[in-house]
C-alpha cells in the first residue's frame, strides 16, 4: 500500500523527473513529507512565482519538462504568472498544486481557490484529481500533454486527502492518447506548392522562431538555409538557431530588430516562417506586415496560423519532419539566382546608423561582457530595455543560449529562470541580465542562489527607471514620466551582501574608452570565471533608449533611430 503522495512522486520519477522547484504549505504537506525518500531533488525557492520561472528555466535550457510544486490558495495563485508565461512561450511545465480536502472543496475553506478554474485559460490541459486511483493516469497524461505537439503548461490539482489516502499501486502507467481526426502527422505534400512559390520568388526570406529549437530541427534548418542562402532573420526566441556569422543572416526582426531584417521583411515577396507565431512585436502593424509577400508557415500548432495574416501555404507538422522533407525536395530543383536580392538585403547600406546615443556605454558593456563568454554560455534576460539590448548584441550560435520571457513579457523572470538554467547546466556559464525594476520583482531568489551556491552571474542594468516604459513615455507621452522613477532604488550591492553574495558596481564612464581598458576587461573576466555567485550592477544613463524602434501601430519599414 502506498500513499497518494508516494504514488505521485513515483509517477514523477517514472516520467524522468529528477528536479522539482517549489514552496511547501498546508495542503501540499503530505507530498513534501514523502519527498525526501523520492529520489527527486527539490529546490526551495522563496516564492512560488520563482518556482514556476525556475522550472521554466530548467525546461527551456534542456527541453525536458519542468516541474513546479505549490500549496493550495495563495501558493497556487502565485504560480499563475509562470503558467501564463509557459503557455505563451510553449514551455513544457507541470504544476502540481495541493488543494483542500475533497469534502471542503467549494466551501471557501482556508486557502481554497479554484485553481483548476482560474488556470483553464492558461493551461494546455489540467485536472482536479478526485480519488487516489486516478493519480497514475493523471500524472502520465499531464506529462504527455506538457511535452507533446506544441509544448505547454499543465496543472494537476490534488486534494490533501487524496495525497494522504493509501491504495495498492501497480506502478506507473503510460498514457495512450485517443486518436483525433485532426491529429497532425508529418505531411510532405506541401513541397510541390512551396517549390513553385520559391521558383517564382524574386525576394524570398526566412523567419526563424523558437519552433525549430523545440522540434529539435535546428541542424536541419541550418542545412536548408545554408543551401538556399536567402536573407534570414530571427525572432527573439529564434536567436541562436542560425549562426550569427552566416552571410545571409540579418539578426533579430521586429520592434527592436535590425534595420536590415525589418526592411527585408517589408520588401519580401515570399516569407517562409519556421516555427514562429508572428507575435505583434514581430509584425508591427498587421495590415502592413510583409505587404508584398506570400507566406508559407511551418508550424506544429494550427491555432497559430492566420492569427495576424492569412498564410498562403500552411505547413502543419513537426518541423523535424517538414524541414527535411522540403530540403530533400528543393535540392532536386535548380534554384533561381537571388544574388542581387541577397546583395541588397544584406548590403552594408542596410546596416543601421551607428549612433546609439546615451545607450552607447551600455551596449559597449554588453558587447564586452558577451565577448568574454564561452560559446555554450546561456544568457537569461529579463524584460525591458536591457532585454532588447542583450538580444540585439547576442552573437552566439548556441540554440538554447538566449532565454527570456518573450510572449508574456513577465518582469521578474530572469533571476529564478537563471537558477533553473544553472541547475540544468551546472558547468555552463549562465548570465542573468536584468533591469533594476525586474530584478526587484523576484529579488528574494538571491537566497536560493546563495543556498545552492550556484555560480550564477547576475548583471543589473540600472538606469533607475522602469526604462522601457519611460522610453515610451518619452517618445509617445510627451515625457510624462508617470510612476516610472526608481531613483530611490536600494544599493543592490548591499542587498547582495546581505544575502552573502559578492557584488560590485561598474559605472558607465568605464565604458567610454574605446577599446575598453584592461582593468574593465579584467574585471569582467574575473566576474565570469568566479566559481561563486556574483552580482554586477552597471549604472546606465537614465534616459538611454533602445533603437531601432518600430513604434506601436507602425509598419516594420517605419523604424525610428537614435538621433546624432
Amino acid at each position: 500500500m502506498l500513499k497518494g503522495s508516494e504514488i505521485v512522486l513515483r509517477c514523477l520519477r517514472a516520467e524522468g523527473v529528477e528536479l522539482a522547484f517549489g514552496y511547501p504549505g498546508g495542503a501540499i504537506m503530505p507530498l513534501y513529507d514523502a519527498l525526501p525518500d523520492s529520489g527527486i531533488r527539490h529546490v526551495l525557492t522563496r516564492h512560488e512565482q520563482g518556482a514556476a520561472f525556475a522550472a521554466e528555466g530548467y525546461a527551456r535550457a534542456t527541453g525536458n519538462v519542468g516541474v513546479a510544486i505549490a500549496t493550495s490558495g495563495p501558493g497556487a495563485t502565485n504560480l499563475v504568472t509562470g503558467i501564463a508565461d509557459a503557455k505563451m512561450d510553449s514551455v513544457p511545465l507541470v504544476c502540481i498544486t495541493g488543494q483542500v480536502r475533497n469534502a471542503m472543496i467549494g466551501s471557501d475553506a482556508f486557502q481554497e481557490t479554484d485553481v483548476f478554474g482560474l488556470t483553464l485559460a492558461l493551461t494546455k490541459w489540467s485536472r482536479l484529481v478526485r480519488s487516489i486511483e486516478e493519480l497514475p493516469a493523471v500524472i502520465a497524461e499531464a506529462f504527455h500533454w506538457a511535452r507533446s505537439g506544441r509544448p505547454g503548461p499543465v496543472v494537476v490539482d490534488i486534494p490533501t486527502d487524496v495525497l494522504k489516502a493509501k491504495t495498492e499501486f501497480a506502478g506507473p502507467i503510460k498514457f495512450q492518447p485517443h486518436p483525433k481526426p485532426s491529429d497532425i502527422h508529418g505531411d510532405t505534400t506541401f513541397t510541390e506548392t512551396l517549390i513553385a512559390l520559391l521558383e517564382n520568388a524574386k525576394r524570398p526570406v526566412a523567419l526563424v522562431g523558437a519552433g525549430a529549437k523545440l522540434a529539435g530541427a535546428v541542424e536541419d534548418l541550418r542545412e536548408l538555409l545554408a543551401y538556399l542562402q536567402i536573407p534570414t532573420f530571427a525572432t527573439v526566441h529564434g536567436l541562436g538557431a542560425i549562426p550569427p556569422d552566416a552571410p545571409y543572416y540579418l539578426g533579430m526582426v521586429g520592434m527592436h530588430g535590425t534595420r536590415a531584417a525589418n526592411l527585408a521583411l517589408h520588401e519580401t515577396d515570399l516569407l517562409m516562417v519556421f516555427g514562429a507565431r508572428l507575435d505583434d512585436r514581430v509584425t508591427g502593424d498587421p495590415s502592413r506586415f510583409a505587404p508584398h509577400a506570400r507566406i508559407a508557415h511551418f508550424e506544429i500548432d494550427p491555432s497559430q496560423l492566420d492569427r495576424v495574416r492569412a498564410c498562403d501555404l500552411p505547413v502543419i507538422g513537426d518541423l523535424v519532419e517538414t524541414i527535411p522533407a522540403f530540403y530533400s525536395a528543393v535540392r532536386r530543383i535548380s534554384l533561381p539566382d537571388w544574388t542581387q536580392w541577397r546583395a541588397v538585403a544584406c548590403g552594408a547600406d542596410r546596416a543601421e546608423p551607428n549612433a546609439r546615443g546615451l545607450a552607447s556605454p551600455t551596449i559597449r558593456f554588453l558587447d564586452e561582457l558577451f565577448r568574454h563568454l564561452p560559446e555554450d554560455s546561456v544568457i537569461v534576460a529579463d524584460v525591458g530595455q536591457h532585454q532588447m539590448w542583450a538580444a540585439q548584441r547576442f552573437r552566439s550560435s548556441s540554440p538554447r543560449g538566449f532565454i527570456t520571457s518573450g510572449g508574456l513579457g513577465a518582469m521578474g523572470f530572469a533571476l529564478p529562470a537563471a537558477i533553473g538554467v544553472q541547475l540544468a547546466k551546472p558547468n555552463t556559464t549562465v548570465v542573468c541580465v536584468s533591469g533594476d525594476g525586474g530584478f526587484q520583482i523576484n529579488i528574494q531568489e538571491l537566497a536560493t542562489v546563495k543556498r545552492l551556491r550556484l555560480p550564477l552571474k547576475m548583471v543589473i542594468i540600472d538606469n533607475k527607471y522602469l526604462g522601457m516604459v519611460r522610453q515610451w513615455q518619452e517618445l509617445f507621452y510627451a515625457r510624462n514620466y508617470s510612476e516610472t522613477d526608481l531613483s530611490d532604488n536600494p544599493d543592490f550591492v548591499e542587498v547582495a551582501r546581505a544575502y552573502r553574495i559578492y557584488g560590485d558596481h561598474l559605472d558607465e564612464d568605464a565604458m567610454v574608452e574605446v577599446p575598453v581598458n584592461n582593468a574593465v576587461s579584467g574585471m569582467l573576466e574575473r566576474f565570469l570565471r568566479s566559481p561563486e555567485p556574483e552580482l554586477l550592477v552597471f549604472d546606465c544613463h537614465p534616459e538611454a533608449n533602445v533603437y531601432p524602434m518600430v513604434p506601436a501601430g507602425a509598419a516594420l519599414s517605419e523604424m525610428i533611430f537614435e538621433q546624432e
Binding site: 494546455k124 481526426p181 494550427p302 496560423l305 500552411p314
Partner: protein, 107 residues
C-alpha cells in the same frame, strides 16, 4: 450570426475551454446548447464573428486536447459540402474557411 459545432470528450473543463475561446474575445453567446452525442458530447454555439475570427476560433477549438471535431456551419448530422470541417493535417487558411462558412452556415 455564425453557427459552430464542436464535438468533444466530456472531460473536466473541456466545455469551459471551448466557451473560453469565445469569451476571451469578448463575444456574446446568445445560443449555447451542449448535448451527449454517442460516446461524446457536442456543443452548438451561435456567435457574431468576423470571417477572420471563424478561422481563429476553429483552430483554437481544435487545439483543445479533448475536442474531437470542429465544424463551422451545419451540424455534423447533416452531410453537406457547405460546412468546413477541420480534420486534415493541412488545415486551410482562414480565408478559405470563411468563404465556405459564409455561404453555407449563416444562421
Amino acid at each position: 450570426m455564425q453557427a459552430f459545432h464542436i464535438q468533444y470528450r466530456n472531460t473536466q473543463g473541456t466545455l469551459m475551454r471551448i466557451l473560453n475561446a469565445a469569451s476571451r474575445r469578448g463575444l456574446e453567446m446568445p445560443y449555447v446548447q451542449a448535448t451527449p452525442v454517442d460516446h461524446e458530447h457536442a456543443v452548438t454555439l451561435l456567435l457574431e464573428v468576423s470571417p477572420k475570427q471563424i478561422g481563429q476560433l476553429c483552430r483554437d477549438w481544435n487545439a483543445i486536447v479533448d475536442v474531437t471535431r470542429v465544424r463551422a456551419g451545419v451540424p455534423f448530422t447533416v452531410a453537406t459540402h457547405a460546412a468546413s470541417e477541420w480534420t486534415t493535417p493541412h488545415l486551410p487558411a482562414s480565408v478559405r474557411v470563411a468563404a465556405n462558412a459564409a455561404t453555407g452556415a449563416s444562421a
